[in-house]
Structure formats: C-alpha cells, structure tokens
C-alpha cells in the first residue's frame, strides 16, 4: 500500500525532515509512527499525503510511483487518503454535517448521496445527534471525531492521523483509539503518528520508530 525507498526530504539546507527513509506498510495494516519531537513524524505523513515533495528516493502509493507526478494526479491520489490532524482543522462556521460533507462535495457527488453517506459516517463515529452543531460548540473529543468522519466519509484506502489524541484527555484518547481500530477492522490502512506510549502499548500494532529524520526500527512489516 505504502512503500518508500531511501527517501530524503528537507525544508532547506539546515533543516532535514527525512533522511534515507525506507519502509513498507501493507494493505489493511495499522501502523504507529513514533519518536521524539522533531523526529520527522509529521514530515513523513506530509510526504505520504503528497503535501510535501521528497527530494530523493522512490515512493509508491497503491503500487504507483508518485515521485514526479503532476498536481492534477496528486489530487486524485488524495481522494484515496483521509487525513486527521491534532488540531482537527474543522471550519468553525459550518455545521458538523457540512464539515463532513466537504470530502464528498469536492468529488461532485449529488446531494442525496452526500446526505446519506454523511448520516452513516456520523453514526459510525457516534455523532448523529450533533449533525447541526457548529464545531466550536463541541468537546475536543467530539471535534476530533468529526475530523475522522470527514477523513473516512469518502471510503479512503488509507487513513492517516497526526497526533489525533494530542489535545485530548485519557478517556477521550481511548475513545478515538477504539474508533480508529474499528475503521481499520473495516479494511482501511491506518497510519497514526503519536507520542502516546500508553496507547501504543495497549495495542499489538506495528511501531515505526523515527529519530532525527531516520527510521530506527519497525520500517518493514512484521514476519
């Protein structure tokens, strides 16, 4: 599903983001990316979501090389990847329902289909009763679940989350963990960058450990 071979990425000469990163994440796998602050977790996710270009090395998504693809193709790849951020990135002036609907609107889906899918996914994340609320009136855990709903409503093959529990307390974090497991169980590949060692230890998922831009362990699938 995701393959990287000797990938280098830097934000300028003094700020290397990724150094010689090789890794493989299989279809329907759940993988954690961890490591100290500044290790390159966010950088790695941004390279995979095609928001950042690598300078060197090969990256294959869904078996296709994305090293030198055009903007138009990036857009098409992004439609198969859902992304969740630590700070939710919800639009405060749109309702929960409208925030989730964005992912389908950009695909040009019809109104009826959008309404149906948004309803289903809000049910999945347990927020059907919040559909018409504005994000700022929700708790942090609820906002993060809206962000997850937005990321999965178009049935992406990969769900990526960058510190999805970073702003949440223990109970809410566990809730999000359960939800991501459920999404993984439905067949999506899930990649989570996190500092949350408690969460990592609660699960049996693979852990890719980064330090100073390099993969120090867990780059290849177990077994």
């Amino acid at each position: 599903m995701i393959q990287m071979y000797h990938v280098y990425m830097s934000y300028g000469s003094d700020s290397p983001g990724l150094i010689d990163v090789s890794l493989r994440i299989e279809k329907a796998e759940f993988a954690f990316i961890t490591g100290p602050s500044g290790a390159g977790k966010t950088s790695l996710l941004r390279v995979i979501m095609l928001a950042e270009r690598s300078q060197n090395g090969q990256i294959l998504l869904f078996g296709k090389n994305v090293a030198n693809i055009k903007e138009k193709e990036r857009t098409l790849f992004r439609r198969h990847m859902g992304v969740v951020f630590q700070d939710f990135k919800l639009l405060p002036s749109r309702t929960v329902e409208q925030n989730v609907a964005i992912s389908l609107e950009v695909l040009g889906k019809g109104r009826g289909e959008i309404r149906k899918k948004v309803g289903e996914v809000l049910e999945l994340v347990g927020l059907e009763h919040r559909a018409h609320r504005l994000p700022p009136t929700l708790s942090g855990g609820e906002q993060q679940r809206v962000a997850i709903a937005r990321a999965i409503v178009n049935d992406p093959q990969i769900l990526m989350a960058d510190e999805p529990t970073g702003n949440l307390d223990q109970a809410l974090s566990e809730e999000i963990g359960v939800l991501l497991n459920r999404i993984n169980a439905r067949g999506s590949t899930v990649v989570v960058a996190t500092h949350d060692t408690a969460w990592i230890q609660r699960t049996q998922h693979r852990v890719i450990h980064l330090e100073k831009g390099r993969v120090v362990s867990g780059g290849m699938p177990l077994g």
């Binding site: 979501m49 857009t75 992004r78 439609r79 992304v83 639009l91 950009v106 937005r150």
Partner: protein, 297 residues
C-alpha cells in the same frame, strides 16, 4: 449544473462574510464605470454633433458684380467636376435679398431702404454627402479663390476642421484614461479577491487535502470577481443614466436656422451591454490576477 449552484453558493457565502469589503469594491467599480460612461456619453454626443454639423456643411461662392457669364460658367464647371459637390444653385441679387429678409423675420423692415444691388449674387453649393472630410472642402475652396469673377468663397463652419481635429485628439485621451480606469478596477477586484483568499486559507487547505482540484477551489472566487465587477458596472451605468436624465433638459445645442436643435442622447443599448459585460470580464481577470500560486498546500 448542480456544480454551478454549489460554486455560486460558495461565492455568495464569501460576499456575505465580508459585506463591507464587497460593498466598497462594488462602489469603487461603480464610480469608475460612472466616469467611463460619462466620458463615453460626452464623446458620443459630441460625435453626433459633429455628424449634424457636417450634414449642414455648405459652400457659398460670392460673385463679383462684374463677373461675366463665361466666368460664371467656368466656375460652375470647376464645381461640377469636384466630387465633393452635390448640387449648385445660382442665387441672384434679388433672391439674396429675399432670403436675407426672410431670415431677419420681424426685423425685415430694417431692409426697406436697402436697394436690390446691395447683396452680391452667389452660387450656393450643397455637398454630395456628409462623409467628405473638411480638408477636401477646404481644398476646393482654395482652388476657387484664384478663379476670376469670384469675390469671396465662404464655407460654413470653417472651424469644423479644428473641431474634428480636437475630437480625434480627445478620443485618444479618453481611450487612455479609460484604459487606466479599467486597469484600476482590475487591481481593485484583484485585491478584494486576494483578501477573500487569505481569509479562507484554512478552508482552501482542507479542500485540497480532501482532494479538491484547483479549479474546484478557484471557481467560487471567479464567480465572486465576476459578480463584484458586473454589479459595479451595472450600478455605474445606472448612475450615468440618472445623471443623463438630470442633464438632458439643461442641454440643447442650437444648430442654426433650418437645422433644428441637438438634444442629448444616451449611449446605444449595445454599448451599455458591452460595458456591463466589460465589468464582469474585468472581475474575471482581476480574479485571475490574484489567484494562481495561492493554492499550494
């Protein structure tokens, strides 16, 4: 179709979100288009005045009292050989006095004591069409002056040549001013759209992350630009029309006896339509100027 509705809804959401900036933009565009329309209105009516004056152009060849029949014939044939000339009428001394009396109207009694020999006989020349330039008429007049038997050649409105030169010059200046004003509008709209884009950086990032194409993100901004530009242009044209309604009764230009008056006329509907469409096009290019590299994530 549903996409157009969606994009328009987004565009109106943008405008509603920032009514002050949108209002100021529409107002400024309106003022620019008002100026443009007034400029065009003045030019258009001066053109009409020019046409009317040209149509009234004529040439009068005053004959010497001693002119012989043969000299008069020669003058006539010179005139007839010129393509500028339409018709020639000989007016003898008696007729000249009659015409003069008629023009004086109530004051005609002043001429009671005047003898029939006072006014010279003349050849009154009507031009073949109003298309001739004042230069070719002037050339004909120059050619005639040297003829024997002619006392004086008068061509009505000799200043018309200068009028048309002035008009040509003004047209050029107006075009320059117009171009500058249009460029200014473009910059104004462009700036507004840029603000609108900055205000939506988060939204644009999110749209791009969930797989929106550039065109999907840009379309509402284009609609916003077109609406602001078009609305401003319409308001400006409306303002110019109001000014026109107010000014019309105050301005009538007498064209002299027999030619009636010239009343102001508004721009033809085609020009109005072109101006309104022009506002929309300016809005579109304003958007084009401000978008482009803003949409990377």
């Amino acid at each position: 179709m549903s996409k157009i509705v969606y994009f328009s809804m987004q565009a109106f959401r943008h405008i509603r979100r920032n009514t002050v900036v949108a209002g100021v933009t529409v107002g400024t565009v309106a003022i620019v288009f008002l100026l443009l329309c007034v400029l065009a209105l003045v030019g258009y009516n001066l053109d009409r005045l020019g046409e009317r004056l040209k149509a009234g152009l004529y040439l009068v060849v005053y004959l010497e009292d001693e002119a012989t029949e043969q000299e008069i014939q020669e003058i006539k044939s010179t005139l007839e050989s010129s393509e500028v000339v339409g018709s020639i009428r000989f007016i003898d001394k008696k007729q000249a006095l009659e015409i003069f009396k008629k023009r004086l109207g109530a004051q005609a009694t002043l001429l009671n004591e005047v003898g029939p020999d006072t006014l010279p006989s003349s050849l009154e020349v009507k031009l073949s069409s109003s298309e001739h330039s004042t230069k070719s008429i002037e050339a004909l007049a120059q050619k005639l002056v040297s003829h024997p038997g002619i006392e004086q050649v008068q061509y009505g409105q000799a200043w018309l040549g200068r009028f048309f030169n002035f008009m040509d010059f003004s047209r050029l200046i107006a075009l320059l001013i117009g171009a500058l004003l249009v460029f200014a509008t473009l910059m104004i709209v462009s700036n507004t759209i840029r603000l609108s884009v900055y205000a939506r950086t988060d939204e644009i990032h999110i749209l791009k992350l969930v797989g929106a194409t550039d065109n999907f993100v840009k379309a509402p901004f284009y609609i916003e630009g077109v609406v602001l530009g078009g609305l401003g242009a319409l308001l400006g044209i409306g303002g110019a029309w109001l000014l026109f309604i107010l000014a019309r009764p105050l301005v009538t230009i007498p064209l002299g006896p027999g030619s009636g008056d010239l009343n102001l006329e508004f721009l033809p509907i085609s020009s109005v339509a072109i101006s309104a469409a022009g506002g929309a096009v300016v809005g579109m290019f304003g958007t084009l100027a401000s978008l482009g590299r803003h949409l990377r994530i």
